[in-house]
């Protein structure tokens, strides 16, 4: 057998490998160019008290989760228990209530529990665009300096929290400020 007879087999195996890997990735997840960059500047009214402004200053000092949510988003309801659990562990979570009705949002936090240290209220969704948000829920992990280190698109799952988010938060907590 000549070596060139093996070429189609090698090509086939390469294609199988490429397609196999493609099956494993979620095509709805778009990689964010913001990873490794400081969180985009923003200044928004607080959901709880519109007279109070929430800005980037709230995102430094300790590792922080920024969770983009809305009462209209089914996935947000699904992950809410996970956020409450993270808050109980002492994780600082800042919410970004995205393109939502403020009254409904406040009622939601009363009904389901409030895991957020602060909630910024983005009525028009323009801050969401600055953060590259394309579908709630989305969760960003920020380090002590307010640099985005990880982004999760879709509801947080127990696997994602235990396998990625908590270990990363631990690592970030040990980083020099």
């Amino acid at each position: 057998m000549r070596w060139s007879n093996a070429v189609p087999l090698v090509v086939l195996l390469a294609l199988v490998l490429a397609f196999w890997r493609g099956l494993g990735r979620d095509p709805t997840v778009v990689p964010s160019p913001l990873i490794g960059r400081p969180a985009p500047q923003f200044s928004l009214p607080s959901l709880r008290d519109p007279a109070v402004l929430v800005t980037n200053a709230e995102l430094v000092g300790q590792p922080t989760l920024v969770n983009v949510w809305g009462t209209w988003c089914v996935g947000c309801r699904a992950e809410h228990g996970m956020l409450l659990d993270l808050a109980r562990r002492g994780v600082r979570i800042v919410g970004l209530d995205w393109k939502d009705d403020a009254l409904a949002a406040r009622a939601w936090l009363v009904e389901l529990g409030d895991p957020y240290q602060l909630v910024a209220y983005d009525a028009t969704g323009s801050v969401g665009i600055d953060w590259g948000v394309y579908g709630a829920p989305e969760t960003f992990v920020l380090d002590k300096r307010g640099v985005i280190r990880h982004k999760h698109v879709g509801p947080l799952t127990a696997e994602e929290v235990a396998g990625t988010v908590l270990p990363l938060l631990d690592r970030l907590a040990r980083e020099a400020p």
Partner: protein, 147 residues
């Protein structure tokens, strides 16, 4: 035989059909009036919208999509054009937030080299194989006539 092939094709098409995602809608509707006084701006607006991918419904440009995010992005394009931004500035704004993925024509880079040159590479390989086969056949002696 041909029936088997047909069945296989039907299955393949079914598997490739996009799964209609249940669309969740925000109550905030940023609908706006994309009218321009300057027809040149309107033309650039249309052209830019066709170049930008809707990230929620990934096989549509934001010009075609009715997703709320597409509306928001169109409004962003509109507002930037009205403020006098160049096309490059608008595309830069989008890629800074959503990555090269937001562009239907990704830029030529080390990462996209295979994407851009792959088809020509395959054409070249196929051409070379065809040429070799033709040469080899020409080199064969004529087959003797069988009695």
């Amino acid at each position: 035989m041909s029936r088997t092939i047909l069945a296989a094709l039907v299955l393949m098409v079914a598997a490739l059909a996009p799964v209609a995602a249940a669309e969740e809608r925000s109550p905030i509707d940023n609908r706006f009036d994309a009218s321009f006084d300057d027809p040149k701006l309107a033309a650039r607006y249309e052209a830019l919208n066709r170049e930008l991918r809707c990230l929620v419904c990934q096989n549509q440009s934001i010009a075609d999509s009715h997703a709320p995010l597409a509306t928001d992005l169109r409004r962003q394009v509109h507002d930037m054009l009205e403020r006098g931004a160049t096309d490059a500035e608008i595309v830069g704004f989008m890629t800074a937030r959503y990555g090269d993925y937001v562009m239907y024509r990704p830029p030529f880079s080390a990462l996209t080299l295979l994407l851009w040159l792959g088809p020509f590479l395959l054409l070249g390989i196929a051409g070379a194989l065809w040429w070799r086969a033709v040469q080899r056949r020409a080199a064969l002696p004529d087959e003797p006539e069988l009695p």
